[in-house]
């Protein structure tokens, strides 16, 4: 890709290629608001390179698409739920009413759930603390610290560097090792019903 010819436009597309593009554009404009916005800009002649304008600050194209909030594919979440049910019976545990059981009975079940959850976390995630300092110790955050990694609380005033007491070390998943799923596997089945023959 790096050494491909840098001509912005290749040779003009043939008629049949254009026909295919026209049908593709029809459905893309209908189905993809972002594409439609870029298409509108192209028609107005303010065309920039078609893909993400990274460096050049583009003069805001007409009605800017709303800031994108992504919805994650739910299959990884379903997969984790299935693992927690399989190893820790977490769904069974949380769906059961605690009324009518004494603490010893709940505690016995909690042991199973605790052990199983710990196993799932241990085997599928590499969870490490965000900060290596002991909780309670004084830490200093330099200017430009990553606000996603450290949350400031309490008397949040002034400017960096900020010095405060570490209330929680934080957790970060350094690695995620979820099972790969077969094509067509229905992740919504969290635990199949069991029928003993």
């Amino acid at each position: 890709m790096a050494d491909s010819p840098s001509t912005p436009h290749g040779p003009p597309p043939s008629f049949f290629q254009r026909l295919g593009m026209a049908f593709g554009a029809f459905s893309a404009v209908l189905g993809d608001a972002g594409f439609a916005a870029r298409f509108a800009a192209l028609r107005r002649g303010t065309a920039a390179p078609p893909s993400a304008p990274v460096a050049a600050p583009v003069p805001a194209p007409a009605p800017a698409a709303a800031p994108a909030l992504k919805t994650l594919d739910s299959s990884a979440a379903l997969q984790l739920l299935a693992l927690l049910q399989r190893e820790a019976r977490l769904i069974d545990f949380t769906r059961e009413s605690l009324a009518g059981y004494d603490d010893a009975q709940i505690g016995a079940a909690a042991r199973l759930v605790h052990e199983g959850c710990a196993k799932v976390l241990r085997e599928h995630f590499d969870i490490v603390p965000v900060r290596s300092e002991a909780e309670g110790s004084r830490v200093t955050l330099p200017a430009g610290f990553d606000a996603a990694l450290v949350r400031l609380t309490g008397n949040v005033t002034g400017s960096a560097p900020f010095t405060g007491s570490l209330a929680h070390r934080g957790w970060r998943a350094a690695e995620v090792k979820l099972p790969r799923l077969a094509e067509g596997h229905d992740a919504r089945v969290l635990a199949p019903a069991e029928v003993e023959l």
Binding site: Q79, A82, R86, R89, D92, F93, R95, E96, L98, Y101, A104, Q105, I106, A108, A109, R111, L112, V113, E115, K177, P179, R180, L181, A182, E183, G184, H185, E194
Partner: protein, 618 residues
């Protein structure tokens, strides 16, 4: 030797298998870069995960049991069977379709190892597989996993070592080789597991091992795996200024391992529950076994707690209401595991032969005595003369010793993750040594108890290229066939039988035994069987030695061997005089051939693995 890029070591275990590898090009001499291959395997229907170990289980699902596509592996569509973690899990709830302990079946002389007999209690509609076929599928899975991860270095072009128990007899070794060939393996080498564990310890020491052992040391390797216990003795020599290692003795095949211990604990707890009126079903008993394993590891791990709670979940979705709560006490674990499996016996203790209902299941010849320490005492007692002829060891063992005195101890197998069991074994051995006025044995620390065998096997691939120290010793058995002695027949009495040595102790790989002078008669066109024996103690017998009598401890009978002479150029029924020739192949298997006294032909002599020992004639 080919230009292999990697040396691959495969631990084909009774309960778990693993693959380790070392890049032959990239390693310098004392710090080879050993890696363990994560094995992609099904862990649930439709879900594939990478795990360091491949459980040695094969599940044969019903046609309607799984949705289409749920058995897809990264390298294959449906195979119709499941290997690994999912097989183990499924098999726990549907044992009639589960093949387990295939390796123990592979060396079980009571059955035909090539016949489809597993699972032993499967209903007729299940298409059973042979122990050979099951082993092939595990090896195939490991090969596929390698090829998927290394498209640029195909498995078939690498240098492969597969480990086997030191106690495997020639037939079991050959079957392992046959399984590997069926799985598409290249020419490979077999390596004894205790040796592999020692190689791994040498590798892990990063060159420091030369400071931890000295000439005159006798290293005892105690390997207690999930299903088998295996012992070996390795002597340390100095020759021309450098240290040499010689494996001088191996133990018997003992079907006794960590799984027996977990089962024994579960039954103890189940009895306790039954006494209080709670009876567990088979599903709950398995869950209990699992819970006992965890509690045992915590109690034996030196937590100091007097008891660990045990919770057996209900099978239904009512978890809190259905769970059964009990506990496993330290005293119970001590009684069942320490006193049951590792009792502090005297050096002259020997295993007791009696049927133990708790261990006997599925027809495998489980050890009748559960005490690992008694088996160990018997091994050291039987091998007390093992060092007599070894260079530099004359006079090192005290006269009149009741057993062979080791000076160092190396553990292998997950059982010894428990410091209590390791300490008990070491203390028992040291008490035996102290009773005979010898100093205590040192513990060789730092072994990776789960993966040492696979790692050592990969390391061995380098050793075979002359990089690093090699353990010598050759075969740990001398082999004999039974011949009828030339005595006048006495009516009503079977003719006495003599044992003819055809392969001496200590044959190295790739060597031939000389031809015995004694000729045997083979009938053309008919299979002729010979009773076949091995001795782990008769080190002096040369080829041609005839034994008139022997004690049961000296010679063990193995599967018979048989030869069939093709009738080409002869009339069927003719008696042809032949001599038996033995060689140890490069792979490490014993090969027997019948050589007619006249003519240059050779016929292969086969090991009978059809479980017909009783029917074989002398």
């Amino acid at each position: 030797m080919t230009a292999a890029r990697y040396a691959i070591g495969i631990d084909l275990g009774t309960t778990h298998s693993a693959l380790s590898h070392v890049d032959l090009a990239a390693s310098d001499d004392d710090r080879p870069v050993l890696q363990v291959l994560p094995i992609p395997q099904l862990t649930a229907p439709g879900a594939v995960e990478n795990l360091p170990l491949l459980p040695s289980f094969l599940y044969l699902p019903h046609a309607d049991e799984l949705a289409p596509g749920e058995l897809t592996l990264p390298w294959a569509e449906e195979r119709g069977h499941v290997v690994g973690e999912l097989a183990r899990r499924r098999g726990a709830t549907t044992p009639i379709r589960l093949v387990s302990s295939a390796k123990s079946w592979l060396c079980h002389s009571g059955i035909d190892r090539r016949a489809a007999v597993l699972p032993p209690d499967a209903p007729p509609e299940v298409a059973r597989v042979s122990p050979l076929e099951a082993s092939t599928r595990y090896l195939q899975h490991l090969r596929d996993a390698w090829d998927a991860a290394h498209p640029d270095a195909p498995f078939a072009e690498q240098d492969v070592t597969v480990t086997i128990p030191a106690s495997f007899d020639p037939a079991a070794r050959e079957l392992t080789l046959e399984a590997a060939q069926a799985a598409g393996y290249p020419a490979l080498t077999l390596l004894e597991e205790p040796q592999s564990a020692l190689y791994s310890w040498i590798e892990a020491s990063g060159g420091g091992w030369r400071k931890q052992v000295r000439p005159g040391d006798v290293i005892l390797v105690v390997d207690v795996g999930g299903g088998t216990s295996d012992f070996s003795l390795i002597a340390v020599l100095e020759r021309e200024g450098s240290l040499e290692l010689h494996r001088v003795a191996v133990g018997e095949h003992i079907l006794l391992g960590g799984d027996n211990m977990d089962l024994a604990l579960a039954h103890t707890v189940a009895r306790k529950l039954a006494a209080n009126g709670t009876n567990l079903d088979a599903w709950q008993l398995r869950a209990l076994t699992h819970a006992c394993r965890g509690a045992k590891e915590r109690l034996l791990g030196g937590s100091g707690a007097p008891a660990e709670p045990i919770v057996v979940p209900s099978r239904g979705s009512k978890l809190i209401g259905g769970a059964i709560r009990t506990e496993l006490t330290h005293d119970e674990v001590a009684a069942v595991i320490l006193e049951g499996f590792f009792p502090a016996v005297a050096a002259d203790a020997r295993p007791v032969s009696r049927v133990r209902a708790g261990l006997a299941q599925l027809g495998l010849p489980y050890a009748q005595d559960a005490a690992v320490t008694r088996h160990l005492a018997a091994f050291l007692g039987r091998q007390q003369d093992a060092l007599r002829t070894l260079e530099g060891f004359a006079g090192r063992q005290p006269e009149g010793a009741g057993f062979l005195h080791p000076t160092a101890l190396l553990f292998n197998g997950g059982v010894f993750k428990s410091p209590l069991l390791a300490e008990r074994t070491l203390a028992t051995l040291n008490a035996w040594l102290a009773a005979e006025g010898a100093g205590p044995a040192r513990l060789l620390a730092g072994a990776d108890l789960d993966l040492a065998v696979a790692r050592g096997a990969a390391y061995y691939g380098r050793v075979r290229r002359g990089r690093g120290v090699r353990i010598r010793g050759g075969t740990a058995f001398a082999y004999y066939i039974a011949v009828e002695s030339a005595m006048p027949a006495v009516p009503g009495l079977e003719p006495p039988v003599q044992a003819l040595c055809i392969a001496p102790f200590g044959m190295e790989e790739g060597t031939d035994a000389p031809l015995p002078a004694l000729e045997l008669g083979l009938v053309v066109g008919e299979p002729v069987h010979f009773r076949f024996f091995a001795s782990s103690v008769r080190r002096q017998d040369a080829v041609g030695t005839l034994l008139d009598s022997w004690s049961p401890d000296e010679l063990q009978e193995l599967d018979a061997i048989s030869a069939t002479l093709p009738p080409e150029g002869r009339s069927p029924g003719d008696l042809v005089p032949v001599r038996l020739h033995a060689r140890v192949t490069e792979a490490g298997t014993l090969e027997l051939e019948a050589l007619p006294v006249s003519g240059g032909e050779r016929w292969k002599v086969e090991f009978d693995v059809r479980g017909e020992r009783e029917a074989a004639s002398a």
